[in-house]
Assembly symmetry: C2
Homo-oligomer: 151 residues x 2
DNA sequence: AAGTAAATAGTAATGAGAACTATTATTATA
DNA sequence: TATAATAATAGTTCTCATTACTATTTACTT
């Protein structure tokens, strides 16, 4: 019988201006930009930065818990420099994501853990509906109908 | 000035064995299969069905509220024939999604609506952690580290 | 200052899902 | 029941977010 020892090699992370600029952008925005939005913004400072670098660093920063990835809903990931658990609202018309500041119910996790036997680390909660802007300009129904005619 | 009238044409949906088979599969499974998993299963009954048909019908069934799409987390959508709002648990190791039967807190929507001014229609809540199976076989940490060595 | 290893830019590959099109199947109607 | 109208299908191509790959550059170590 072989003994298996798991060794975690710490990979020495080097400081780069690209990663610092990306983190800075996330820290200075209240919106929750997509990777592409971060890319567009960081290009103003570092014009030759590549999209791969943005993705790689967003992933790295997420792994290091310096930022948080919002993978709830939609196809595009969104990134948030606010790393403590909190809730969001997503507009089903324009897709924008906003913070919702109500206390996180950690008791719920314990309750459901006991009931189900799952080892629950946290929960993600996203409110859905229509933001103020989209409520105003809601002339065309947001239900995704395509059978519209102009007469 | 032109008058614009928006006309919604009701598209008459035709019954097909493909769509019925897809709905049947979703009704007879407690798991929450991805489009591809549905495709694999329906192929046992209709071998020449195309993946596009599966996607199109899943979308159609979702629009008609006959099934529900779980777009929370991950890249792949999952489908559920249980259409009334309920909560889920997602295992961060194997990716499986399970139902969580605790009452849905609709009061929360009203409370947050009033506080924020968003028109909130519902919320999605997903517990995250590790399922029973993955807790047992958790020898290798699920944190996504790749720097492991066997000695 | 030189050596090393990690990070980068740029490009190609992947994979979920949507779009397109000629053909087939379903429903309405004569 | 046969026929006409049109929705749905199979099969293929396309899109778009994200990842992988690779030669070159940059940051840290000694």
């Amino acid at each position: 019988m072989r003994t298996i020892i798991i060794v975690e090699e710490m990979n020495k992370i080097k400081k780069t201006k690209q990663r610092e600029a990306i983190l800075e952008i996330l820290k200075n925005t209240k919106s929750h930009p997509t990777a592409d939005e971060v890319y567009q913004k960081v290009r103003q400072k570092i014009p030759r930065i590549s999209k791969g670098t943005v993705y790689r660093n967003l992933k790295l920063l997420t792994e290091n818990k310096e930022v948080m990835k919002i993978d709830t809903g939609g196809t595009e990931g969104r990134y948030d420099a606010r790393v403590e658990n909190h809730y969001h609202f997503r507009c089903e018309s324009c897709g924008k994501v906003f913070d919702v500041d109500v206390p996180v119910d950690t008791e719920l996790d314990k309750k459901v853990s006991q009931k189900t036997g799952f080892n629950i680390t946290h929960h993600v909660l996203e409110f859905r509906g229509f933001c103020s802007d989209c409520q105003k300009k809601a002339i065309i129904s947001p239900s995704g109908d395509k059978n519209k005619e102009e007469v």
